[in-house]
């Protein structure tokens, strides 16, 4: 399988405080990887480096065979931030409008959505089981339903890699299981690569294909 993300000797520090030193890992096409670790070990920092938002203090990272600094094909990377659920909490928009947002760069500046874009939005919502709620305001949906809409927003632009930062934060225990099942089936059926930061390895371990553990500044692959 080809590598889609490759990190070598990656180091990062905030000022004098080292977060991790010379870590390396590869993510292969079709992987479903969980990145775990205690609070403050740098999981979200690592995701921000992958997304080109932070510059590593050492080493290199490549996405889809390009150095992250030169990478420009960001629509191929779907990202669900840790605060994804909260940011939409009181936003006055329907599920359909929120999912459509991720197609705006495809639609282009000074242009407006057409039928094919609306169909794509409905397909994405259907994929996560939320098509029936497309006209509902996001604030009227439950935590689990909102997170499904957020996933549909990521999926609608047909990304090659999905990066999810704590996707189960703020979601009740019963819904967490169905979200993991959904992610696992998307990974199996569409072949999409998923990198997911989580605290909840107890429940996630049954669904992911690999686990990377980030602790005390170093990263190891767990085989349990």
């Amino acid at each position: 399988m080809p590598k889609v993300i490759e990190a070598e000797n990656l180091s990062f520090s905030y000022g004098n405080e080292s977060i991790f030193t010379k870590i390396g890992f590869s993510v292969y096409k079709g992987d479903f990887v969980a990145v775990i670790g205690s609070n403050g070990t740098g999981k979200s920092t690592l995701m921000r480096i992958i997304l080109g938002e932070l510059t590593p203090t050492g080493g290199s990272i490549r996405i889809l065979n390009q150095d992250v600094e030169k990478f420009g094909d960001w629509p191929k990377i779907g990202y669900l931030p840790q605060s994804g659920l909260q940011s939409a909490d009181s936003f006055p928009a329907t599920a359909e409008e929120i999912v459509m947002a991720n197609l705006f760069s495809q639609i282009g500046l000074l242009r407006f959505p057409k039928k094919k874009h609306r169909d794509k939005v409905h397909q994405a919502l259907e994929l996560v089981g939320m098509d029936a709620y497309s006209k509902r305001m996001i604030s009227e949906l439950s935590g689990g339903q909102r997170q499904r809409v957020m996933l549909a927003r990521v999926l609608v632009s047909d990304p090659e890699i999905m990066i999810l930062d704590e996707p189960t934060t703020g979601v009740d225990a019963g819904t967490v299981k169905s979200l993991y099942e959904l992610l696992s089936s998307l990974n199996r059926e569409t072949g999409i690569t998923i990198v997911m930061v989580t605290h909840d390895i107890g429940r996630a371990s049954g669904y992911v294909s690999r686990i990377l553990s980030l602790e005390e500044g170093s990263l190891e692959e767990r085989n349990d």
Partner: protein
């Protein structure tokens, strides 16, 4: 009913007022959703520094206010990016600087009545040049808002995701900053620097109580703003009140009534649902 429109200054006030009622909530909804509701206050207070500078240097005060607002808006954006965790601090810093500068410069203004007219506005004393300026700026703001409608929506929803999705976030934010600055400065002249931020927020707050989508919320915001403006102009004319203040007070009363009615309706529905 027709007597009010017989006067040229009132016809002008209605044209300018309605145009402003279209553009202020368009800018206001993005400002509110970006959690930067106080930006209107900071810019309008800074516009006073531009007005004072204009009057001191004998250049058009509206032009001075537009320049001051653009500098202030860009300043807010720069500080916001430098200290993202305390973004709201940028508004306080710029507002303090603007008020301070306006205070100092106003001491050099010879015609204080002219300067004071910017505090509470003078929508019924609009000159032909000012009306043309409002028409030009309103049309430009509406066109830009229409064409950047979807990009502004996504940036307000999730700036980081918008950047990753390929939206030119920096460019759109820059254009929006200029748009906000120009809208605030031109509105400050007509409805008053101390009042303009309320017009950015109150119609949006009312619309958010009814809107069933983002599109609907935008449309309702404009409808509420037009209603406040027209009602405010009528009432202020017949009751001999200050138009700027009347317009805002109608908005505040309307919002309070909506919130009371909504909460009563919600409690009635809750009682009905109980077995």
């Amino acid at each position: 009913m027709t007597s009010i429109l017989e006067y040229d200054f009132m016809r002008r006030a209605f044209v300018v007022g309605i145009l402003l009622a279209f553009i202020i909530p368009c800018v206001g909804i993005i400002v509110v959703l970006k959690r930067l509701s106080m930006i209107g206050d900071a810019l309008s207070h800074t516009s006073l520094a531009g007005v004072a500078a204009g009057l001191v240097m004998s250049i058009n005060p509206i032009l001075g206010s537009i320049i001051a607002c653009i500098i202030a808006a860009l300043g807010i954006e720069i500080i916001r990016k430098k200290i993202p965790k305390y973004a709201e601090m940028s508004i306080a810093i710029i507002m303090s600087a603007g008020v301070g500068l306006a205070g100092v410069l106003s001491g050099f203004v010879k015609n204080s009545a002219n300067f004071n007219s910017f505090l509470f506005g003078s929508i019924v004393a609009i000159s032909n040049f000012e009306m043309l300026l409002v028409i030009l700026i309103s049309c430009t703001v509406m066109l830009i808002f229409f064409f950047l409608y979807k990009e502004l929506f996504y940036i307000a929803l999730d700036e980081r995701a918008a950047r990753l999705a390929g939206i030119p976030v920096k460019t759109v934010n820059f254009v929006f900053t200029i748009l906000t600055a120009v809208t605030v400065s031109v509105a400050a002249r007509t409805v008053g620097a101390l009042i303009v931020s309320s017009l950015m927020v109150i119609p949006v707050a009312c619309a958010m109580q009814f809107g069933k989508s983002y599109k609907q919320t935008v449309i309702y915001s404009v409808c509420f703003a037009v209603f406040f403006m027209v009602a405010g102009l009528y009432i202020s004319y017949y009751q001999r009140l200050k138009p700027g203040g009347t317009i805002v007070l109608i908005g505040v009363i309307c919002l309070i009534l909506i919130l009371i009615i909504k909460s009563i309706t919600a409690s009635i529905m809750l009682t009905k649902d109980k077995p």
